[in-house]
Amino acid sequence: EADIYQTPRYLVIGTGKKITLECSQTMGHDKMYWYQQDPGMELHLIHYSYGVNSTEKGDLSSESTVSRIRTEHFPLTLESARPSHTSQYLCASSNGPFYGYTFGSGTRLTVV
């Protein structure tokens, strides 16, 4: 079944650690996105990709980086986690702005 997967579902990690949040989709979508969302708040677009080897920064400045080496995979990396990075991170994919987005279940990150 076509879907989008995020791992881990929950992550608690110490300050200064390097982390990678995984996102994979099986739908063959060219467009992929990362959003950041604090509880009860709006989603903020932090990164997106048009396809392999394409990455763009979103509306909200983020210290994270992304890569797109394969169509199905769009990992997000934080080189040195800080408590201010504590949030929920949502990955999504689509066939473009004229189609609906498919979201993963999210990764809830807590940096202590």
Partner: protein, 112 residues
């Protein structure tokens, strides 16, 4: 990208009643999408209405679009406890600029 603004911010109704939530936006659009988010989860795409459509149905959902007023509404008929969630609208700019932007949503609570 542009942000839709949902209204009301919160809505509490009895099971079986209808729920209506509204969305306003500021510039010309290609389409407008509605999403649902259950607590702590990713967003689920509900319905997409194009700028040349005025009304669209999907099961118990009815979406209207008034481009002259730059507004849309989502009606959920015969609400159920499982409809408790946050609902977001996301307008897509006429030019199709990528990366949907989401507001704070309408938090809907269905009382048993």
């Amino acid at each position: 990208s542009q942000q839709g603004e949902e209204d009301p911010q919160a809505l509490s109704i009895q099971e079986g009643e209808n729920a209506t939530m509204n969305c306003s936006y500021k510039t010309s659009i290609n389409n407008l999408q509605w999403y649902r988010q259950n607590s702590g989860r990713g967003l689920v795409h509900l319905i997409l209405i194009r700028s040349n459509e005025r009304e669209k149905h999907s099961g118990r959902l009815r979406v209207t679009l008034d481009t002259s007023k730059k507004s849309s509404s989502l009606l959920i008929t015969a609400s159920r406890a499982a409809d408790t969630a946050s609902y977001f609208c996301a307008p897509t700019l006429e030019g199709g600029a990528d990366g949907l932007t989401f507001g704070k949503g309408t938090h809907l609570i269905i009382q048993p």
